[in-house]
Symmetry: C2
Subunit: 127 residues, 2 copies
């Protein structure tokens, strides 16, 4: 994915390997359907939990919570709990999260841009 040739001390080499495996782990975290759709849905404004469940179509309660925790852990979303009754929890993209959203936007644009080509290719392939 990223490993570059590098000449240095063994310590530096070890650091690079560590960073690389970490990068892989992170990539594996976010490169999944639900995480990306959640980031896309969050967009520019904060959302409540239930708003997200409505906006991210087809996501289950469990997957939503699970992915939100993961995104929070990685510092992509900020979780703000209002101690009211009933509780009100708001999720907002952090700066890293917004940066990633830009690339997710690009992926969505790509999907729509090539929708026709893909559909055609599928027909050809399935025949």
């Amino acid at each position: 994915m990223v490993t570059k040739q590098y000449k240095g001390t063994p310590e530096e080499a070890a650091d690079l390997r560590r960073a690389d495996s970490l990068a892989r782990e992170i990539f594996g975290d976010i490169a999944n359907k639900w995480a990306l759709l959640i980031i896309e849905a969050l967009g520019e404004r904060t959302h409540r939990f239930s708003e997200l469940r409505d906006d991210v179509e087809g996501v289950s309660h469990k997957m939503l919570t699970q992915n939100l925790r993961m995104l929070e852990r990685n510092g992509l979303v900020d979780r703000e709990v209002h101690p009211t009754v009933p509780p009100r929890v708001e999720y907002t993209l952090t700066e890293p999260g917004r940066a990633l959203r830009a690339t997710v936007d690009a992926m969505c644009d790509w999907t729509h841009r090539y929708l026709g080509d893909i559909e055609a290719s599928r027909s050809r392939f399935d025949a």
Copy 2:
């Protein structure tokens, strides 16, 4: 993900719903770890099957074949079979594939850019 408000005939509305569900399906296809890593690995030049297996670290024979089929079906990679013995099969990104790769590159860049922040956030969260 994409649905825009739109006033038109019922037929046009139906078309939009169809396109939207197709877009979702495609997004679900490509928004997975292995597909994205394969696209990233393919880069600018063609790869043989075994080269890909070496370059995409950790991918199993099965997952590689499966995802390559899917990418081929969607017209993101071109599969060229040389009728030699032993067989030689080369995979190349198509134009749509290369366009998508640009966004995957952006995701990889993002990962490295925020590696430190993410690691820090994780430590905070896990505590």
